[in-house]
């Protein structure tokens, strides 16, 4: 049976449903000590002195580490991507701060103790003399001349600015029928894996070997980062990734905590464990998406956009070695999404503030790009009076216009945006919605439909960045007993790529799926690889698995051909049997062929092949362009999945409460290896999108104090808020991966944000309602409603009688526009 395309349940399901996974907090070593971090309580302060004497005197305390130790014994943390390579400013970031803290949560000291309660108690014994410094929290004020500075040595608060210009936007705007402007803002959020970060370090001074368990997405790059910070050889470090309780991007190194825990194990001679508290997760693991957009868009009466200028202002928090600020870069780089707008000017301002730094989070800036484009398209629809779908159809890049160059130079590999939107409108019966809306209005209920369009570039490769590249490796081996083991450089924090690899290998080898075991996340077992991010796992790990399995298939086919007295090219293999095409009775068992290779190495069937059944292969993506001087272009995202979504909400005009009633997504991430697990990922991504748009918000006060450090304050969706999801796949294969897959890990999120805003607006057809800021809290929605002018000029706020609003616009405008 062909496995690729089957809805196979996850290979790890049984173990995890039994509670028998091993997460990092389940790693227990003899004589293990516990570490706790003292974090800055100030957003910006100079450290005058640190007195650890009382902490050291507390019974049970083994060691206290401060900035003095870190600056003497450790090196700065290497940058996750090379800021100088793209002209950005950087900082020297040490694992423990010595002179100046720049956000609440930055590491000031660490205590190692016999147990974690003693370690936590000893944090209070440490006397730090802080001198408070001016705090920068408002990114707009931070750009004004004379603003207080996060990094005084920089001279301003701009980590990088960048213009991406295509065509002549001034001329295009001047020539457009209409020009409108707008401002929208996506809020500050974080990922909230239910398992926080954590690590365990063990140092063997005799073997000179550090073993390091961490809930990380990237074991091999982490090993390199640790080696550099600890000033050790990489082959002295063994990184093991246990089961990971969710990552979503936020478990990408390098963090301050990792080298501190490793160093603590080395200086104390004890195994050391650190498990992050939830409050630490909120203050120090990383934020994202806090971006303000100011746009000017010109368009004609037919809805065609001519000229788009967007200013992107991202508040990325304090500069560190984390790669998260790069999300703002990707937002600008991937604008204007899936629309063909030849005259476009994107201006990016990446502003630093005294807040927790951004770290990678699902969406990685593509979400913000899709959000602002959806808001702009809805704005144009409102101004032209055309249907929102008509505006999108009028401006989509055409299916025959690929590869397509973005204003940034990024090259979109393939796409069919019209096809996905067609399928969506059919699936939800778009034309029929107005009748439903009118019926609801007659019952006194306000429902609205919103549309989202996402473009989600995946598989990033940055020049000079160790961790961010478009290749990965896999080993496939067949044991003498015929069972198959796959080892990969990519990892799975729960997303299920291991199951996809087994499906791919089963098809190539013709073996049974249940005979395959997948091993990931161990730098001494697995081939070198970069781990999990940018939705790359199946795209690169799966392609490498395919290559390695094909090597073994070729060898086995040669042996089987000899056994069956046929030509290798005439053989097929499936479900553990090799057979001659068209003559299934001329067959030999997969295991019998394997047996020839291992036990009859010098017999007549296997004497012509190299002994052993193991292959390690690396897959390199074919459309990365890093040499503009000879290639004439620079493009670092090779795969561009996309999708169209529709959401139906009900809004209570009295309270501003919004309830999501239905959510439908048509997603196109190329060939789907396992539709069940892709659907599972899409459900999670949509939920994270809805959560971040409606319920979640990271908030700081004007002193840079974090106000949302618990799950009571930062409220992620529960089962009560979420609808059931309706998912459909369109498959436009990548021309550059052997099976055509593009990566689906982040898909589904980007289209939620704009769709929800549009749905709320749509529920009040009598109003000129403009939803511009996230999150869509009841108070914000209520305020927007009561201040929105009625289109008939009769005042402000929703009509008391929704049935009288004529909740209908011509649905057939869709057809007219095509």
């Amino acid at each position: 049976m062909k496995q690729v395309g089957r809805r196979v349940t996850g290979l790890t399901n049984t173990q995890l449903a039994a509670g028998k996974g091993t997460y990092v907090n389940d790693v227990v070593l003899p004589d293990m000590a516990f570490l706790a971090f003292l974090r800055s309580p100030y957003a910006h302060a100079r450290i005058r002195s640190v007195d650890i004497s009382a902490a050291m005197a507390r019974p049970g305390v083994i060691k206290v580490l401060t900035g003095e130790d870190a600056y003497r014994d450790l090196r700065p943390i290497p940058e996750a991507w090379n800021t100088r390579e793209i002209g950005a400013k950087g900082v020297l970031w040490y694992p423990i701060v010595k002179d100046r803290v720049r956000y609440v949560g930055e590491v000031v000291a660490a205590v190692v103790a016999e147990d974690r309660w003693t370690a936590a108690a000893a944090l209070d014994d440490i006397e730090v003399d802080y001198e408070e410094l001016p705090v920068v929290t408002d990114p707009i004020k931070a750009m004004e001349p004379g603003a207080d500075l996060v990094e005084p040595a920089w001279g301003d608060n701009l980590l990088i600015t960048r213009d991406w210009i295509a065509g002549d936007v001034d001329a295009a705007l001047a020539g457009a029928d209409r020009v409108v402007t707008g401002t929208v803002r996506s809020n500050r959020i974080t990922g909230v894996s239910i398992e926080g970060r954590g690590c365990v370090a063990q140092w063997d001074a005799f073997a000179r070997k550090l073993t390091f368990w961490e809930s990380t997405q990237n074991p091999h790059p982490l090993r390199s980062f640790l080696a550099e910070t600890l000033n050790m050889s990489e082959n002295s470090i063994h990184v093991i990734q246990p089961h990971v309780g969710g990552g979503f991007g936020l478990k990408q190194p390098p963090f301050q905590e990792e080298p501190v825990v490793a160093h603590a194990a080395m200086v104390t001679g004890r195994p050391v464990k650190w498990i992050e508290e939830r409050a630490e997760n909120f203050m120090a693991t990383g934020h994202s998406r806090d971006t303000r957009f100011e746009y000017t868009v010109g368009f004609n009466a037919d809805g065609r956009v001519h000229g788009l200028r967007i200013k992107v202002i991202a508040d990325v928090g304090a500069p560190t070695a984390l790669l998260g600020w790069g999300q703002s870069f990707v937002t600008g780089y991937s604008l204007p999404g899936g629309y063909d707008i030849p005259d476009t000017n994107v201006q990016l301002y990446v502003v630093v503030t005294n807040k927790c730094p951004w770290n990678a989070y699902r969406g990685f800036g593509k979400d913000a790009q899709s959000f602002v484009m959806d808001r702009i398209m809805d704005h144009v629809a409102r101004e032209t009076g055309l249907d929102r779908t008509a505006i999108r159809y009028a401006n989509f890049i055409r299916p025959d216009d690929f590869p397509h160059s973005q204003p940034s130079g990024a090259i979109l590999d393939s796409g069919n945006y019209q096809g996905a939107l067609d399928k969506l409108l059919k699936r939800i019966d778009y034309a029929g919605f107005r009748a439903l809306q009118a019926q609801a209005a007659a019952e006194g209920r306000r429902i609205g439909l919103g549309l989202g369009q996402e473009l989600t570039p995946e598989g990033c490769a940055m020049p000079g960045a160790l961790m961010i590249s478009a290749y990965d490796g896999a080993t496939v081996r067949v044991a003498p007993s015929g069972e198959v083991t796959i080892l990969t450089g990519v990892t799975s924090p729960g997303c299920g790529n291991e199951t996809a690899f087994a499906q791919i290998a089963a098809d190539v080898l013709g073996c049974k799926l249940e005979t395959i075991r997948v091993i990931q996340g161990d730098t001494e077992l697995c081939p070198y690889g970069l781990g999990n991010y940018s939705s790359r796992g199946t795209m690169y790990g799966g392609s490498a698995t395919q290559l390695a399995a094909q090597d073994l298939r070729n060898k086995l086919a040669e042996v089987a051909a000899s056994m069956l007295e046929a030509a290798p090219a005439d053989l097929e293999a499936a479900d553990g049997t090799f057979f001659v095409k068209g003559s299934p009775d001329r067959s030999v068992a997969f295991n019998a062929v394997v047996n020839q290779v291992y036990r009859h190495t010098f017999g007549k069937h296997a004497e012509g092949v190299e002994p052993g059944l193991e292959s390690t292969r690396y897959f390199r993506m074919g459309n990365i362009y890093h040499q503009p001087e000879t290639q004439g272009r620079f493009s670092n995202y090779p795969a561009w999945p996309f999708g169209s979504s529709a959401v139906v909400v009900e809004v209570d005009p009295q309270t501003g409460m919004v309830k999501v009633l239905e959510y439908t997504l048509v997603e196109d991430a190329g060939t789907v290896i396992n539709p069940l697990l892709v659907d599972a990922n899409l459900h999670g991504a949509i939920t994270q999108g809805i959560g971040s748009a409606m319920y979640e918000n990271i908030s700081y006060d004007e002193n840079g104090q974090l106000q949302t450090a618990t799950l009571m304050d930062y409220t992620i969706p529960t089962a009560i808020e979420m609808p059931m999801f309706s998912i459909e796949h369109q498959e436009t294969p990548s021309p550059f991966t052997p099976l055509g897959m593009k990566g689906a890990g982040e898909s589904g999120l980007g289209s939620t944000l704009g769709a929800l805003c549009g749905a709320i607006e749509d529920a009040f057809p009598e109003l000129d309602l403009r939803i511009t800021d996230l999150p869509l809290t009841p108070n914000r929605v209520w305020q927007s409603l009561r201040t929105a002018p009625r289109k008939d000029g009769s005042g402000f706020g929703p009509s008391p009688s929704p049935a009288a609003t004529g909740a209908a616009r011509p649905a057939d405008a869709v057809e007219a526009a095509r």
Binding site: L16, G19, Y23, N25, G245, D679, T687
Partner: protein, 176 residues
């Protein structure tokens, strides 16, 4: 202060020496090595540490171990004796892909058990409320709801019947 408590955990009588400040979750994990009980927040919000105490679910990060003296505790490990006889709710989560990373799963399964013990034929809304104290960040709850619906069928003596969103079959495919 150390204190000795006697309790039943997963049907087995245990005597445990605990610090009076120790929480039940830590006792289960650290002293009894029942690491299927996970800790996600320590403040009773996420539900990963959910266990059953005398037949009703509690968040074991918010219960002192000493308060479980004399109690009957059920953790995820108490739902089976081997991989071949997992509880129907666990089997339903496996077959209906009601989990991804697995971190919230043990607590989620115990909340589902409490729900189905009290209400063998819950509506979708009943299920949503029944697991509203358990946060999952991976699944969006869709397949969890379908898992619990399927488990309810099996526990009522009906055959397992994964929905079209699991099997990928549409109603007309099934009919054919």
């Amino acid at each position: 202060m150390q204190t000795t408590i006697k309790l039943t955990v997963n049907g087995r009588a245990r005597t445990v020496e605990v610090d009076s400040r120790m929480i039940l979750a830590d006792m289960l994990r650290d002293q009894l090595r029942l690491t299927g009980t996970h800790i996600g927040c320590g403040t009773g919000n996420c539900g990963a540490c959910t266990v059953m105490l005398d037949g009703r679910t509690v968040k074991s990060c918010c219960v002192l171990a000493a308060d479980a003296d004399g109690a009957d505790v059920l953790t995820v490990e108490g739902l089976y004796t081997s991989p071949d006889d997992l509880h129907p709710i666990q089997q339903a989560f496996i077959a209906n892909q009601g989990l991804q990373c697995g971190y919230c799963t043990p607590g989620m399964i115990l909340s589902a058990k409490q729900l189905l013990d009290a209400n063998p034929d819950p509506t979708e809304d009943d299920i949503r409320h029944g697991i509203s104290g358990n946060l999952c960040r991976c699944t969006g709850y869709h397949f969890i709801l379908e898992s619990i619906q399927d488990a309810a069928r099996v526990l009522r003596g009906e055959p397992s019947a994964p929905s079209a969103s699991i099997t990928g079959l549409r109603a007309d495919d099934v009919a054919g």
